[in-house]
Symmetry: D2
Subunit: 334 residues, 4 copies
């Protein structure tokens, strides 16, 4: 940590800062500049929030040198590969989690599962509990939906990824699902993060709509700090001024995460763009920037979907896209 | 709802859209323009998400005419005044909720309560459960903190506002608190919104960091749709590219809410700006744009605070500010 | 400047960085931490961009300690008051620049000038050259408009503020105007900034739609570095995800500027909000946060305006607002 | 255009709106809903800004159906291919404009030109006039730089792309350059757009840092409305809250433009990310989402660059990247 003092600061003020830092175990170094005085402090940053150095007399600002995360960092591990049933995420396999936004009925789900399996998806997605902006929108089939997902999983040999929305249903969802998904709106629902951190199931953690890279990694750190190290990060668009797409897919975070963390990263172009016509190009773009895979909405009949039909691919379009993605994956891993 | 068809759309496509709309009870009107064809549909928008009109052949886009919210709207009520103990929010009284970020100890809380009471605050704030970006930061005194708040409330005759972070603790918090607070990160934690919607306690709902006006109002609609009509909206800064302040306090949302909804609105300049030096001017600005009150962090000794000391006022500064705010409130309500 | 080295960096790498810094006149100080090595460099930051330290082996990142601006800084001057005819900006007078978006005709301008003068405005605004998003929109009366402004100025004894859009017309506009305005879209039109920097007329510099505080101040620095020290900063809304207002008026930048710079600051709530119903509350809010004044659009007949009628006040509404603003100004300067 | 009237609006108010619309040649259609009354107006939207309908009594809001642009639209043309010397943009060739941020010296430029030519770049970039945030930064070699670019062009048979910053130097730059570049900060410098619109040279138009798709296309419309139809759009990152990259590269605008306009689109990952380590993945991503090409900074010795060294590739890294891009281009155009 670097403490920048005003050049007009008094010796007593400088000494007060040094004493406080040394009192909690930091070693300090004074650098006297022409227009500023700088105190370098060597020690463990995480003890610091309560120090209140920035409010002391003569202090202009504080600059933190260390990142606040630890377990997610590439400094502790090179690469995490997560085994899920017979597939894996983060290794050489191209992960494609596909399926409908919401589980609507047995027929709709089975048709979706069959289609995505045949096209080469590695996991099945489908919402049983749905977070909806309006209380008047369809809220999901709940446990009935979980059972249908389990059935589909058996029939089509596809691990299930489904969202868990609150701490009361974590155990219920974990009974049926292979992978627990934390939605974007819950990325900083810290109690929920801790709860899934105590489960022995991999977690797909979606980036919050206005989460920075650091906050995204800190949310993963919450899960990992409870003992669950199997976290898959998922970029799904951030909020910007641009209204031509629902959100702005931030693909540059993918290589940034790869340079910073050992965790796998997938991309959800369906929710990010909000329109199926952009799903194919943005899926290819996601692989090209280095994502480990994708999460794509597929519905047997998008115009009849109870949720997010506009962004869902038909089985035909999904099948066509999968072929293009496989070529691209081969090229990138040649 | 307005459906815009491409000028090249076929008669069969236009008829298909009309049939679908009429099939769910809409009346339709066709307007033939030079470059576009428009179908006006009259009916209840909330049945619509499942129609999938935007995916039908020949459709260019859909324009919604009605707002998605209902109970929060000024169309149903002119003004809501919420009685809380001997004070109220939304009427002629200037609401000031003040106190420390987190309850740290009996001494710290009592000192804070005494100071804010003497300066004229109408309610006491203090966090017992703290949502923290880092799992390694102080997480709050929990039930012990709630008890201290209750004690302070009795001694200083101040209603208590405190945050509830998850559905499991809603009842516990409601036992001790006079007003339940939903934090910005939980603004779209829909299960939590429903749960506090079933309580008989007023709710302070903080705007999410990237929530639009419409989403903010829809979150209030969630609470109200469960039967709890006592919702106080709280602007606390949104996320923008500007890094000189922690967030950007969006004061224009205050008069906008006043023109759209009957609910009271308060402003939290402490969290929005992240620095105590901006709290006084932004508090005055909040009243001037029409806010019903403020939520301000006050700590007896900011440099020693376990949480957010940088944005906390000392009792002296708070006292000085309160005098300026009272003059401004008098001027605005003269 | 602080150079953070990786803990794994070699002695040769550290020495290379030190040599480079010392080679251009910096003094260096080495701080050896447990997980990082830090090199503090004392010297003039502005020589640095070409050093490329961040690309040297072993370097993790660079942290700048000094601000890049100088002439605008409060460190060189406490407060700037700009005399314009018989009025001034930045002192005790409440500055109100009012008038139509565009000069449309003699009648429209004279009526506007009369109305704003009677209500107490201190300067007259009106666009002769109009920057329009669409090439098909009204582009202004140009020199004819400037002449009308000059006439109105004489008749109503109001200094003129009008926009200059390009370097070719700076001299022309300066012949007629008392204050040159740089529009938001030109805030980083550096050649234009330099050109007005060579004029002997005060400049109203509008903040760019996505300009940070630092960039805003650097744009003022451009003007001042050419010798023109009379710069009035004008906040006019930034771009965020919120669509309920045209832009988001960032009032917190007003006290921030006051804490950082000696230059006067005014606020334009008309362009920021895009709707006249928000102009009155946001004007009062602007004064309350410490602005030196306002820039407000007034049109004798807003529904017939050739430009931005939606955000223009009628003379009646402007007159009513001015009375409220005068009361608030009195209160704030009591 | 659709005018939404309040349900409480009087017949006289509805008639007033109809009369006004019909008075300027619109045909109107009235749709009476339960909660709203809608007036559909058929006619030319571009006559409308001065109508002030939104300010008339009883009007709730106005919804525009038509896009404001025309010449850039895919409705007038399927695809534009621009011939530049022996290369072209927008067709089957992968466009790669490469070279240093700024022309610094003959040696530096020739070395850069040689390197990018050998690696397969199709055009040479290099700034002679540099827009810099700080007036104290290197501002470019100006005409001397243009001459060096011309020389390099001849020797290495590479068309030149270089920025023109103001209307006074458009002719000068056009004498030397093959393609005129409009920088992001000048995207809404409307006089400059018109000026390059009168030239007979292709234009690379960079997206403004906070420009929406519509504003970006309208800026191109400005150029085209003056007669110059050879516009190449260039995405270069937008401003968001994320600080881990300099800007956020919005790759989804590439397929969106392809669906909306006939103009070619290239991407500049160097300026968008601000760090050379992200240039390779984001370049591949750009091709994968459908861009016609790239603009990439290459410098023979990045740590010594006078401008933006951090984001420049070395000739070796650029060469390696070009091979990967060629494979990807082949795959995508197979």
């Amino acid at each position: 940590m670097i403490v920048v003092m005003r050049v007009s600061s008094k010796e007593s003020e400088i000494n007060a800062v040094k004493s406080k830092l040394e009192g909690v175990g930091f070693k300090t170094h004074l650098i006297q500049g022409v227009e500023r005085i700088v105190i370098g402090a060597i020690g463990d940053k995480r003890a610091l929030p309560s120090l209140g150095i920035d409010l002391m007399e003569g202090v202009e600002k504080i600059v933190h040198i260390m990142n606040p995360y630890k377990l997610v960092s590439k400094e502790v591990k090179e690469k995490t590969i997560i085994q899920i049933g017979s597939t894996s995420v983060g290794g050489d396999i191209m992960t494609v989690v596909a399926g409908p936004c919401a589980v609507e009925s047995e027929e709709q789900l089975m048709e979706s599962a069959k289609a995505v399996k045949e096209a080469g998806a590695t996991m099945l997605r489908g919402g049983a509990f749905k977070p909806r902006t309006s209380p008047y929108s369809f809220q999901g089939l709940q446990e009935e939906g979980l059972k249908l997902l389990r059935d589909a999983s058996k029939i089509y040999d596809l691990p299930i990824v489904t969202e868990v929305m609150n701490i009361k249903t974590v155990e219920l969802v974990a009974e049926y699902a292979d992978v627990l998904q934390i939605g974007a709106r819950n990325m900083q629902n810290f109690d929920l993060l801790k709860e899934v951190g105590r489960m022995k199931k991999p977690v797909v953690l979606k980036r919050g709509l206005s989460a920075t890279l650091e906050e995204f990694l800190m949310a993963a750190e919450y899960i990992m700090s409870e003992g669950n190290y199997e976290v898959i990060l998922c970029e799904r668009g951030i909020r910007t001024f641009e209204t031509a797409t629902r959100n702005t897919l931030d693909l540059s975070i993918v290589p940034l995460i790869k340079q910073t963390s050992h965790l796998p990263v997938i991309v959800d172009p369906s929710h990010a763009t909000g329109t199926w016509k952009l799903v194919a190009p943005m899926s290819k773009g996601s692989l090209a920037v280095g994502a480990d895979g994708l999460m794509i909405e597929v519905h047997p009949n998008p115009p009849e979907a109870l949720c997010d039909g506009s962004q869902s691919l038909t089985p035909e379009n999904f099948n066509k896209l999968m072929q293009e993605l496989q070529s691209m994956h081969s090229l990138l891993h040649a």
